[in-house]
């Protein structure tokens, strides 16, 4: 039972799309509308994730205070040991004098208070820049066991909170995306189901004059794919320009602030197109096939 030729399918597919054009337009625009919703959420989630990532990176340091009586070699030895730890990106030495200077600057108007001190009470320290924040605990625990360490300090609470938030955002974001993809799939396949339903008589007649199931499916399958693809393209274009416009507007108004961490439209659109094309054409095809089943069995 040879499948009918590709040329026949293409021809039939576009003829049908045109002759049922009211239905085609309705289906395509429903698919596109659904995908636009998905796209808006996708863009938001990706940007929020990127921003929390940036926020996280700003707290990715560990401060290691050294014993005051530690000699130079001891200090260097600790430094080399630390740089080899997993998750450590960089290790910066901060001498006690530097630390006091910094403190003065930090204290700003109250800095003069420090001039009244007899000796520098601050220790020498290392600042560890982390590669990956998730290693923080392991690194802190390891370093604490070294000799010559006075104290290891890092913004445990802040970091933990940020990790938690990021985690929540990532999980909620992922969940929402999955739910939305499921719902979009559902709406798109419903749309196609209803569209196919309105042509049930046509399908029955084809069967009655002896067409095989695959012969009938061919053009419908292609139609589903084309509907899905056109919807995907339409929605991608909408998302691209809407996002570009919003991006530019935000950049102009809030350049110093959040905008620096927004992902550029050109970057995001690739993922969007990829996602949409797969969802649109995939569901278009599957939706057509699934909806046909009911009417082919005559």
């Amino acid at each position: 039972m040879r499948i009918n030729s590709f040329g026949y399918n293409i021809k039939e597919c576009f003829k049908n799309l045109w002759r049922n054009r009211m239905m085609s337009v309705a289906s395509i625009s429903s698919v596109a509308a659904t995908l636009v919703i998905l796209g808006i959420i996708f863009v938001l989630i990706v940007n929020i994730s990127a921003m929390t990532q940036v926020a996280k990176d700003q707290f990715d340091t560990i401060q290691v205070y050294l014993d005051d009586d530690l000699a130079i070699d001891g200090i260097e030895e600790i430094g080399t040991k630390m740089i080899q730890l997993q998750g450590v990106q960089d290790v910066i030495f901060e001498a006690k004098e530097e630390a006091l200077e910094k403190m003065k600057l930090d204290w700003d108007q109250n800095g003069y208070l420090l001039d009244g001190l007899e000796s520098n009470p601050l220790p020498n320290s290392y600042i560890i820049v982390l590669d990956d924040i998730n290693y923080a605990n392991y690194i802190v625990n390891t370093i604490q066991d070294y000799d010559g360490i006075e104290e290891v300090k890092y913004y445990q609470e802040v970091i933990e909170n940020i990790i938690k938030i990021t985690d929540v955002i990532r999980k909620v974001g992922l969940m929402i995306m999955v739910i939305l993809i499921a719902i979009s799939t559902f709406i798109i396949s419903n749309t196609i189901k209803i569209a196919v339903h309105s042509r049930r008589r046509e399908i029955n007649i084809m069967k009655y004059v002896g067409a095989t199931n695959w012969f009938i499916r061919g053009p419908f399958l292609l139609e589903g794919v084309v509907l899905g693809l056109l919807g995907a393209i339409l929605s991608s274009v909408v998302i691209y320009f809407a996002y570009k416009y919003s991006y530019d507007a935000i950049m102009e108004q809030f350049y110093m602030f959040i905008s620096a961490y927004l992902i550029r439209a050109q970057v995001i659109i690739k993922d969007v197109v990829f996602l949409f094309v797969i969802i649109g054409s995939g569901i278009g095809a599957l939706g057509s096939l699934a909806s046909l089943r009911k009417y082919l069995d005559v």
Binding site: N4, N16, R199, I205, M206, G210, T212, D297
Partner: protein
């Protein structure tokens, strides 16, 4: 060619459309199926096409017991049988030309052959100038003739016509009958359900009369036989 062995058909709603029918139609026969409205003629035809399955008994077409035919073999069966449906069953989104071409496309006829044959059969049924029209732009009789054209285009071994002249004037009807006879002479088995007394009486072929799902008469060179 067509055999009915103890065939009964009871629809879901309890109507018994065909009751214990036994029939044997041989290759090359020309058979009229007559009977009052609701007698079971269309049901009989639908069972030959496996549009409906008999409740009991066996239907044999071309030496094949189609009662147990696998779903995937059904298209093959239907291609052996050209059918003029009582309700025409034209594809509403295809033109007259495309409707007929479709019957050839499903058998994977070469496009060249399609382009040659379709206009030919259209001119036989007198619709050469209507090929670009859609079914809803045709008169009742014209739709019926498109249905006839589609049924004969593939030269099927069996031709079934359910009331093929119901919407045709007597003259066109007679021409269609001539055509069917001609097709029958080339070896095609023809089965025609009809109410047209005049045609049946004129043609003097085998007549099978059905009433309430039962064969009540089966005679060669018969007459329509009702309301005489």
């Amino acid at each position: 060619m067509i055999k009915m062995l103890n065939v009964s058909k009871k629809y879901n709603n309890g109507v018994i459309a065909v009751a214990n029918m036994n029939l044997n139609i041989k290759r090359g026969d020309f058979v009229f199926l007559v009977g009052p409205s609701g007698a079971g003629k269309s049901t009989f035809i639908k069972m030959l096409l496996k549009e409906e399955n008999p409740t009991s008994g066996h239907v044999v077409v071309d030496d094949l017991d189609i009662t147990k035919l696998h779903r995937r073999k059904v298209p093959e069966l239907r291609r052996k049988i050209g059918v003029v449906f009582q309700d025409f069953r034209l594809l509403p989104n295809k033109t007259v030309y495309e409707n007929i071409a479709f019957a050839m496309e499903i058998t994977e006829t070469k496009p060249r052959d399609i382009r040659k044959h379709v206009p030919m059969v259209l001119s036989i049924v007198g619709l050469a100038d209507k090929q670009k029209m859609y079914p809803d732009q045709l008169s009742g009789g014209e739709q019926q003739r498109v249905s006839i054209a589609r049924a004969i285009i593939n030269n099927p071994p069996i031709l079934i016509a359910d009331e093929p002249t119901g919407n045709l004037d007597p003259e066109t009807s007679r021409e269609i009958m001539k055509l069917l006879l001609q097709i029958n002479r080339r070896g095609t088995t023809v089965l025609m359900a009809t109410h047209d007394k005049e045609i049946v009486d004129l043609m003097k072929q085998r007549v099978i009369a059905i009433e309430k799902g039962r064969v009540v008469r089966d005679e060669l060179g018969g007459k329509y036989g009702y309301a005489d």
